[in-house]
């Protein structure tokens, strides 16, 4: 072993950690007796380890204690400062105002909106056909829009136990997804559904709605696909 090999292989550290194989250990020892630089390195390392062995029992667990104490006292002082009246009173007053506003204004309005009847414009919709232009549906931001969707039920169509709906917005993202159980009715007529798109989520562009029937075995079969343009008016 020469000096550069000893340096590159971190031989002194490996020696002190007793990681060298017997041959490598012998080679390194032969080297240190010939290389004052490596000998100094090893002597310093050995002296450090020897002294550390003496001091570690006293230091290992006693030293962190003041650090922990300092940290916990710092944490405690921060926690205590948060409960000073100068901070707590305005914070609680603000929270109280928010609670009052929600109870007096926001919640009653939401309750009214959800319980009262409202009119939603119904737009005609036809399933997509090759080469046909998309129907355009005009909707306003106040009421949103309701779209009639026919579920194909009749002879020649496999009985479905449920239907799934997937609405994609103009960016192609999935905007809405739902599944409904298949209605029990006369097998001669289609079952109409209404898909209501709330006013808040309306945007101009081309939407697509895919309807899939799901059989008892869990197999999905696309049955209808609607593509339509929505023009939003204020």
């Amino acid at each position: 072993m020469n000096h550069s090999e000893a340096f590159e292989q971190q031989a002194a550290e490996r020696y002190l950690l007793n990681e060298l194989a017997p041959d490598a250990r012998d080679a390194f020892e032969a080297h240190i007796f010939d290389c004052p630089e490596c000998a100094l390195d090893l002597r310093a390392g050995a002296a450090f380890v020897q002294e550390a062995k003496i001091q570690l029992p006293a230091i290992a667990f006693s030293a962190p204690a003041p650090a922990r104490a300092f940290k916990s006292s710092a944490k405690r002082s921060l926690w205590v400062s948060l409960w000073r009246p100068a901070f707590v009173v305005p914070a609680f007053a603000t929270l109280l105002l928010v609670v009052i506003f929600q109870n007096v204004v926001t919640f009653p309005a939401l309750r009214t909106a959800s319980t009262q009847p409202r009119l939603v414009p119904l737009a005609p919709l036809h399933s997509a056909t090759r080469g046909a232009s998309h129907p355009t549906v005009t909707a306003d931001r106040v009421h949103g829009v309701a779209l009639p969707v026919d579920l194909p039920i009749g002879p020649g169509i496999a009985p479905a136990v449920s239907y799934s709906f997937q609405l994609r917005d103009p960016q192609g993202k999935l905007a809405f997804s739902a599944a409904v159980p298949a209605p029990v009715q006369e097998p001669s007529a289609d079952q109409p559904f209404s898909l209501v798109i709330p006013d808040k989520s309306l945007q101009n562009g081309t939407y697509s709605l895919a309807v899939t029937s799901v059989s008892a075995q869990g197999e999905g079969t696309p049955v209808k696909r609607y593509i339509f343009d929505i023009v939003v008016t204020d």
Binding site: Q10, A12, E13, R14, Y15, L16, L17, N18, E19, R25, E29, A30, I32, F33, D34, P36, E37, A39, L40, D41, L42, R43, A44, G45, A46, A47, F48, V49, Q50, E51, A52, K53, I54, Q55, L56, P57, I59, A60, A63, P64, A67
Partner: protein, 222 residues
Amino acid sequence: MPAASDMPQRFQQAMLYSFVPGSAESSLQFHSFDASYVENLCGGDRQTQEHFVAYFSELLHIKLRSRLQSPHAIEDVCQETFARVYSVLRKDGGLRQPERLGAFVNTVCNHVLFEQYRSTARSDSLDEEGAPELPATGADALDTVAAGQIKKKVREILLRLPERDRSLLKAVFLDERDRDEVCRQFGVDREYLRVLLHRAKQEFKVEYIKHVGNPPPLCADA
């Protein structure tokens, strides 16, 4: 290797070749392992002898600590090595390559160690296997020159380490636990351990050189 019955004689040798406290700093600062160094050594030059004993005592102790458990056995091998080296050097034409003095000391030590192993296998007289390690009684560099500053420096380095690294060193060096198990427990690899030791050692080395001296032999004419 002298047998156990030769203890008084070996003890005399130990006294003869013992490291002289307080003289390490000066004795480690000069001399080169060359013909003039060997000549001075054989001619009884006190400073050269002190340097020789101080320099190689430490290396021999480091080497022997990994091989022998008993401090007495370590000291015996060390002293026997010095005795044989002196014996060869004092003969006419003792050492053909004076610059290989270090390698020669190591070779002699290996021979003595081998004899020590054989002697232990026969009588178990020197190396008290399984006996608890006694505190070092010899006067080494740490115990003598600026030991206080060196101890302080080690303490500083240890205190500056994160608690985890301190616990890691304790587990490895003090508890002597299995390295792989320790690494697993602390979530580190062997390389982390080596780098941790390397950094601590490098920082300590500056202080060590300041107080104990840098032993690389300088040219005699420098």
